[in-house]
């Protein structure tokens, strides 16, 4: 039934986002980009795409970081256009997307403050999608409790703090744990939000978020090897809304080395391919890249259905991946690493040209 009235509130934005999606770089664009020799060439080529005059309007010299910030600016402009036109519940959904960036920003500011960095220096490095008013004051807090009760209680992040409140002093390890705890709460909350939405939104978003949860579980496990994070602590950080829950997470909690993680992944066909050793002939890809690849695959599926919010999430994620790709190519071009230039992750490969 929701399909009947979907277009009344959200039809315009869905149309908009589908139009924007048509601007995602195609395989031939990447092919041309990979042939560039200088950043000027990349700029020239991007002019023929939807990015248009994005790079040419600045006076400064072209650097990779400029490209990166311009791309990010572009994404934020698009997102804020969507957000400012959104009606509930889509506006809540879009807010949920920004929360993950907020969490990252908070943790970055905390670690920055621990290293005695100036806030003014840190702020430009925060992701603008996750910007909020109280951001600059994050450095004041000494413990997670203080962080919560003094600074973040007004922000939407407050709802994720239930489990994260502790009196221990914030150090780098604690900040990282805080990030994972927040993310766990965030993912679970987002997951249940999408589940309650029902319909196509649930069908599309739940697999994506479940994948995201599982990815975090894997990454936490792999990263915890060689640190003094206890097993019980580790288990507490796993988001419980993924496909791995509960059996896989229990197994992961017991894992001691990479081999055991791989054994766990072997039980799940979707993750088996990610952890499989690459064939000798093909190019080596990091675990992260392979997770990204899988994510892109899941996100492209969102565009096959209509009348749901998944397209917004997927578009932002795909666009982010595209930005990573362009920055990667730009890095390779400036550092003359032509051999690695093809390690980007193409979006919509082969399906449309």
């Amino acid at each position: 039934m929701t399909e009947l009235s979907f277009n009344v509130d959200h039809g315009y934005l869905e149309g908009l986002v589908r139009g924007l999606k048509a601007g995602i770089l195609t395989r031939s664009d990447y092919h041309n980009l990979a042939q560039c020799d200088t950043l000027e060439d990349i700029k020239l080529h991007l002019q023929c795409t939807d990015y248009g005059k994005m790079l040419s309007s600045s006076e400064e010299d072209l650097t990779v970081s400029l490209v990166d910030s311009k791309l990010r600016e572009n994404l934020v402009t698009e997102f804020s256009c969507l957000r400012s036109n959104a009606l509930p519940p889509l506006s809540t959904f879009l807010d949920y997307i920004t929360y993950s960036y907020m969490i990252d920003n908070v943790v970055m500011l905390i670690t920055g403050a621990l290293k005695q960095r100036d806030v003014a220096e840190l702020l430009p490095r925060c992701h603008p999608l996750g910007a909020f008013d109280q951001m600059a004051a994050v450095g004041i807090a000494r413990t997670p409790t203080e962080l919560y009760s003094a600074i973040l209680v007004d922000t939407p992040l407050a709802q994720f703090f239930q489990d994260a409140v502790s009196e221990s002093n914030l150090d780098e390890m604690e900040a990282e744990i805080l990030r994972n705890k927040l993310f766990k709460a965030y993912l679970e909350s987002f997951h249940s939000f999408c589940k309650n939405m029902g319909g196509a939104t649930k069908d599309i978003m739940c697999p994506v978020l479940e994948f995201e949860a599982d990815r975090r579980a894997f990454i936490i496990t792999v990263n915890s090897f060689g640190t003094d994070l206890s097993r019980a602590d580790r288990i507490a950080l796993y988001p419980s809304c993924g496909n791995l829950y509960p059996e896989g997470l229990r197994l992961l909690g017991r894992a001691e080395d990479h081999g055991q993680v791989k054994e766990v992944a072997d039980c799940y066909p979707a993750y088996k391919i990610i952890f499989d050793d690459p064939e000798p002939g093909s190019g080596f890809k990091t675990l992260e890249d392979r997770f990204f690849e899988q994510e892109v695959k899941l996100n492209t599926l969102a565009f096959l259905q209509q009348f749901h919010f998944g397209v917004f999430y997927s578009y932002i994620k795909l666009k982010e991946q595209e930005n990573r790709n362009i920055v990667w190519i730009a890095e390779c071009v400036t550092q003359r690493q032509k051999s690695k230039i093809h390690n980007y992750i193409p979006i919509f490969q082969g399906t449309e040209q």
Partner: protein, 849 residues
């Protein structure tokens, strides 16, 4: 005329441009807009081409120009978008322009930066004065309370705090501190809450709104701010408070400790603000001067840079010859324009002072050239109507010249009303007379532009509507009695058919044309006005309009079929004439042509006297297919025989249409295969285009005609597939034969729409105007004014605009579907020449703003 009928003859030409003069030559060609360039290095990436650096330079200049334009616009200086048309600058002059632009940019940047710095300073000073002024009230408030407290100037509730009373604070070395400043009004709530939470209440915040709007230096928007004063204990909390202030982007200013100091500061600020104002004014004046100077030439620069960039894009399409001394470009060019092209190249070479001239060389090609049909302002509208369906194939018969007459005519058949036609024609005439008015021409209102572009179409539609309105004798649903009706009522009395009593006794009386003197012959032009009074008017008009639609439709379609012969003859497919055109025409004429004949025959033969015996054409037409004419009386002797004959011919033409062409082609390929067939082709490859035609003509005479030889000459290499050909022909046959029936029926929309239009205008008259006209008191005159207004508005909106659009759409359909599918394939590519005049010409469209 022949060019309008078929489009221009095009040829592929090679331009040899000396590398020294290539820029000037291309520039010259761009001004003329004669030729379409082909990309000779399609495999080369955009950034690997030769002139990529020049293009980058152009883009840099565009960026500066965009910056200039934005600044000029911000300073509210009008931009002269004059009629200047500067030629593209010579490469040696480009550096000068570039330098000038860069100098301007630097200068402007410096001045703007200075100005912004000054503005920021000024804002800070103003904020500081506001803060001092307002915060004085805070202190006064607290000093009023002071007498209540005995010896401390501090705040009462702290005393009640058992944990930390003032003495213990003093013992700890804590002291009272003040932070004051301004924060945006929207943030004050959150700011206060956070302050309270972080400092656990050990601060006191008092604030008041500034009553003026202050300009935000970043967004340049007037925003409201709030002055606040925080009093706190101890350095630790002071640190935190400062951080929070930073976080909320507060503008913090030092808080004077005493009243004297405060007064001094205020005094100092006042003089500084005055000084700043004078400096700021100077700066602004200077900035304005710089911008004024820039705005004079900025339009010229924009055009020049656009042209330059376009030229380099074209140069990138060219390739080098082996010696690397000259550029080779391939262009499509109308054959007639080649002398002009030569002259342009000579001009370009002369301008650049090249010793070796650039020249043109025609080359033979197998590619299909793009279609160019030269239009003027009258024909372009109609050409657009045709092109919207499909751009004609190269050298195909172009329906546009016929559309110029048939389109407004068919429209008018549906829109036949003298009054409405006059209004429409006058509106279009006004647009035509003022077509050079810049205000009308350059408007950005899309709906208006649509009407304005079609002003000649509307004019013709209006004029034709006047004509059909006269024929229908309809003017705002009333009839004009110009020549006097052909019917005479008093003759009925004279012949004593009616008595005086009949008039009072009957509501309706029928005039009998058979009584002498009642009907004195037809009205000279159109429908007799007496019909406007008759109750059976609709029956009469329906019969007339329906038959008229069928007659017009059959004529229109037959004309389309006949036009296809021009294509068959031009593309040297003579067999199509016998195997496609002839059966098609026979099928159409034997069935529907005969129907038209019967309609006209009945009109001519049956008069008022024997109208009771007039047969129904429909029954006769149905009987013609059933081949049983015995039941009804024949229209003329020998009718049954003729009808059987016609049906047989029509039926026989179907298999001819279906099988004739494929079988003939098959026979040509396999049964009549002679080695001489390809001889001509081999020879042609080495010869030029003109000889190609001769060769083909010769082949035709020899009887070894290439079956499907079109101008492209590519078909010969194509594999002939009998099944394919048969399938295509079968589809065509089915489409045509069914189409004849459905298309004829489709022309009945002429009747339907004209009926709807007439009825609607009659209803409007009866429901609106007549009501007011029937009031015969004096008030009725006053009543008439608003009612006429309503009538006028409804006439224009519903009858003219809405009905006009619907009639337009139906006329469009009749042309696209019913007329053009008889002969027009519309699979061509439009010729788009390289012309500077096609570059966008206003600042907004440049994408610089």
């Amino acid at each position: 005329m022949s060019s309008l009928l078929r489009g221009e003859e095009m040829c592929l030409a090679q331009l040899f441009l000396q590398s020294g003069s290539s820029y000037d030559c291309i520039s010259e060609l761009g001004e003329l807009g004669l030729v379409e360039f082909r990309d000779l290095n399609p495999s080369v990436n955009a950034f690997q081409r030769k002139h990529v650096n020049e293009i980058k330079k152009c883009e840099e200049m565009e960026r500066i120009l965009g910056y200039l334009l934005r600044e000029v616009k911000r300073a509210d200086i009008s931009l002269p978008e004059g009629d200047v048309n500067p030629v593209a600058p010579l490469p040696k002059h480009v550096m000068a322009i570039m330098e000038q632009l860069q100098r301007l940019e630097v200068e402007l940047g410096e001045v703007t930066r200075n100005k912004e710095k000054l503005q920021r300073n000024l804002l800070e000073l103003t904020e500081y004065t506001h803060m001092l002024r307002i915060s004085r009230n805070f202190v006064q408030k607290s000093s009023e309370r002071e007498p209540l407290q005995v010896q401390y100037e501090e705040f009462p509730f702290l005393e009640k705090d058992t944990m930390m009373d003032y003495s213990s604070m003093q013992r700890l070395g804590a002291r009272l501190g003040f932070i004051s400043g301004l924060v945006k009004r929207t943030k004050i709530g959150a700011f206060e809450r956070m302050l309270w939470r972080v400092c656990k209440g050990y601060t006191i915040l008092s604030y008041a709104e500034v009553d003026e709007y202050l300009d935000d230096p970043d967004t340049r928007e007037p925003t409201k701010s709030v002055v606040f004063l925080i009093s706190y204990w101890g350095d630790q909390i002071g640190q935190k408070v400062k951080k929070i202030c930073d976080c909320y982007h507060c503008h913090v200013y030092p808080y004077p400790s005493s009243n004297e100091e405060r007064n001094d500061v205020v005094e100092g600020l006042r003089t500084r603000i005055q000084d700043l104002h004078t400096v700021l004014h100077r700066t602004e004046d200077y900035l304005k001067q710089v911008l004024m100077k820039a705005s004079e030439s900025v339009y010229t620069w924009v055009l020049q840079v656009k042209k330059m960039k376009a030229i380099y894009y074209i140069l990138n399409l060219c390739s080098f010859d082996v010696t690397n001394k000259c550029l080779i470009a391939e262009v499509w060019c109308p054959v007639d324009d080649i002398p002009t092209l030569r002259r342009a190249l000579e001009e370009g070479s002369r301008k650049s002072g090249a010793t070796v001239p650039s020249f043109v060389n025609r080359i033979p090609t197998n590619d299909t050239p793009p279609t160019l049909i030269k239009t003027n302002k009258l024909t372009s509208g109609f050409q657009n109507i045709v092109d919207a369906y499909g751009v004609g194939s190269y050298r195909e018969v172009n329906p546009a010249p016929f559309t110029i007459i048939t389109f407004p005519f068919l429209f008018a058949v549906m829109f036949g009303d003298l009054g409405h036609g006059v209004i429409m024609a006058l509106f279009a005439l006004w647009m035509v007379l003022y077509e050079n008015n810049r205000k009308l021409k350059n408007t950005r209102n899309e709906i208006w532009n649509t009407f304005f572009e079609g002003r000649y179409i509307i004019l013709l539609m209006g004029l034709f509507s006047i004509y059909t309105g006269l024929i229908y004798n309809d003017c705002f649903s009333k009839s004009l009695n110009i020549f006097g009706s052909g019917w005479n009522v008093s003759a009925m009395f004279r012949a004593e058919v009616w008595k005086n009593g009949d008039i009072s006794g009957n509501r309706l009386l029928t005039l009998d044309p058979n009584v002498t003197g009642v009907f004195n012959g037809p009205y000279p032009l159109g429908i007799d006005p007496i019909w406007n009074l008759a109750t059976n008017r609709l029956t009469f008009l329906n019969s007339y309009k329906m038959k008229m639609s069928v007659i017009l439709g059959v004529i229109h379609m037959s004309f389309g079929v006949i036009l296809s012969t021009y294509n068959h003859l031009h593309f040297r497919k003579k067999h199509n004439l016998y195997l496609v055109f002839l059966p098609e025409l026979l099928f159409l004429l034997c069935l529907f042509g005969y129907l038209v004949f019967m309609i006209i025959y009945k009109w001519l033969v049956f008069t008022a006297k024997d109208s009771r015996h007039a047969p129904s054409i429909l029954i006769h037409f149905i009987n013609m297919f059933l081949m049983q004419g015995d039941a009804v009386q024949p229209l003329y002797p020998g009718q049954t025989g003729l009808q059987v004959f016609l049906v047989v011919i029509a039926v026989l033409s179907v298999p001819v249409l279906l099988l004739g062409k494929p079988v003939y082609l098959y026979w040509l390929r396999h049964g009549n295969h002679r080695p001489g067939l390809y001889r001509g082709y081999e020879r042609v490859r080495r010869n030029s285009e003109e000889e190609l035609y001769l060769m083909r003509a010769q082949d035709m005479e020899e009887g070894s005609s290439h079956s499907d030889l079109s101008t492209s000459g590519e078909r010969q290499t194509e594999e002939f597939d009998f099944a394919d050909e048969l399938l295509h022909q079968a589809i065509h046959t089915i489409e045509y034969c069914l189409g004849c029936v459905s298309n004829t029926a489709s022309y009945l929309r002429l009747w339907a729409l004209s009926l709807a239009h007439a009825q609607l205008s009659e209803v409007l008259w009866a429901m609106v105007m007549r009501v007011a006209l029937r009031m015969d008191t004096r008030l009725g005159v006053l009543f008439l004014v608003p009612v006429f207004g309503l009538f006028a508005v409804l006439t224009v909106t519903i009858l003219l605009v809405m009905e006009g659009l619907s009639a337009f759409l139906h006329a469009l359909r009749l042309h696209w579907v019913e007329f053009q599918n008889k002969f027009y394939s519309g699979t061509g590519v439009k010729f788009c020449p390289f012309a500077f005049s096609l570059l966008p010409s206003s600042f907004e469209q440049h994408g610089l703003l």
